[in-house]
Amino acid sequence: MTTRPRLREKAQVLDDAALDRALTRIAHEILERNGGAKDLAFVGLRTRGVTLAHRLAAKIAAIDGANLPVGTLDITLYRDDLDMRGAPVVRGTDIPFSIKNKAVVLVDDVLFTGRTIRAALDALIDLGRPLMIQLAILIDRGHRELPIRPDYVGKNLPTSRRESVAVRLREHDGEDRVVIEEPEEA
């Protein structure tokens, strides 16, 4: 086990109300952009992307009445840095519907280098040929290493590389909050 430096909270970026408003806005944007909920499906990236995908699906159900399917994607088997990370931990992909000819909205909490999304695109396309893939992100923190751009963004957040962004969600962390953290004694 590598010991990571202890992190301390530097600033709060979103509180629970702001996080909820951002998701409501993204839900509306998804419906607007796709002209409704027809043939839409959500696929969340483990772990918090899945939770956010379920919340977006609930928002769309409230706005439009459509019950959109939500799948879970684990990208461990597609990472480009498997060799650098110690033993992989696979937690499984579970997409119980066909993505063929669906407009799939990929959901993750933080967009950083773009490498996770690159892996997710490969993983998704191995499961079938979707009509299109769109990307919804709660926090875009910049520093892209690949030509990847989100379609829906909760908040753009300029950060430095040594900082990290923690998305805390009720279902996992008991609170809805986004904070920037930095290493202690740096």
Binding site: L77, L82, R85, A87
Partner: protein, 311 residues
């Protein structure tokens, strides 16, 4: 916790958390078998050599499929068509194969300890695919995964392992794994096929089939190797099958209605299992085989997917 071992040589050397990690990794890889495109890029560029000195259908094939579904290059070596037939020693053959820089060597050999010798000699990861009467860890892992999926948990389950316990590496690996996971194990068979001091592994012994299978959650029938008869350990196949063969009548009379019947294969139909039992509703034998691929993917992924600081 993560995986930190270079090799998988036995279940005995693992702790419960490592066994659970292997089973859970395999469980989450099962979904790949149902895909339209059965391939993920996790082990792209890795080379896996299957080094088999004994016959095998299930194990070799499932290691090969597992490696290929993970995008590794898989090479099969069987002793028959190789320089081993010209008298090259086991270690020399292995060193030559190692010189071709494989990432994982999967080895099956008739001698107990063969995998361990390779692990000490070669720099790559070694998977024991069966060494003599010692261990067969991936078989035990797929048995455990099958049990987990049908019963939902391990702790407190009771298992009867029936047949030739003395010569069975499957029995030995399963006994170690099941005991570590909190299961109760009873071994049963003719006294000539029960090793002395087997109780020291933490198992109970029964000398009647009916006593062994009463009220257990799982019955694991072992293959009777026909050569045991010529060596005088059992009087005749017919007698063995009369006393130790599992039939529908015996099952209905003694076993629980939700019992699982397992068998590592290949089945001697009409000897240790009657065909109605082998193909019957309690049997999960083919499910075991399907899970074998997922288990071997999990093992290969954990061994070859992590050549970083942890390995």
């Amino acid at each position: 916790m993560g995986w930190t071992r270079k090799d998988l040589l036995s279940i005995r050397e693992l702790d419960a958390a490592e066994i659970v990690l292997l089973v859970e990794t395999a469980a989450s890889l099962q979904e790949i078998a149902g895909r339209e495109i059965k391939k993920v890029p996790a082990l792209r560029g890795k080379t896996i050599v299957n080094l088999f000195y004994e016959n095998s259908t299930r194990t070799r094939t499932s290691f090969e499929i597992a490696g290929k579904w993970l995008s590794a290059d898989v090479v099969n070596f069987s002793a028959g068509g190789s320089s081993a037939a010209k008298g090259e020693s086991f270690i020399d053959t292995a060193r030559n194969i190692a010189a071709m820089s494989p990432d994982v060597v999967v080895v099956r050999h008739a001698s107990a300890g063969a995998a361990e010798i390779l692990a000490r000699t070669l720099p790559c990861s070694i998977v024991n695919a069966g060494d003599g009467a010692h261990e067969h860890p991936t078989q035990a892992l797929l048995d455990l995964l099958t049990i987990k999926e049908h019963k939902g948990h391990f702790e407190g389950l009771s298992v009867a392992i029936v047949g030739d316990i003395t010569h069975s590496r499957v029995a030995r690996s399963n006994i170690h794994g099941m005991r570590k996971l909190g299961m109760t194990v009873t071994v049963a068979g003719p006294p000539t096929l029960i090793p002395p001091f087997v109780q020291e592994l933490g198992v109970k012994v029964a000398y009647r089939l009916e006593d062994a299978i009463r009220d257990v959650d799982v019955i694991m029938m072992l293959r009777l190797q026909q050569e045991r008869m010529s060596s005088g350990l059992i009087p005749s196949l017919r007698e063995y099958s009369r006393y130790w063969g599992l039939t529908l009548d015996k099952l209905r009379a003694e076993a629980r209605p939700d019992v699982l019947i397992m068998h590592p294969g290949p089945v001697n139909r009409g000897v240790e299992l009657s065909p109605e039992v082998a193909d019957g509703p309690y049997s999960v034998i083919l499910d075991q085989v399907a899970k074998g691929v997922a288990v071997r993917m999990g093992v290969l992924l954990l061994l070859a997917g992590a050549r970083g600081e942890a390995a």
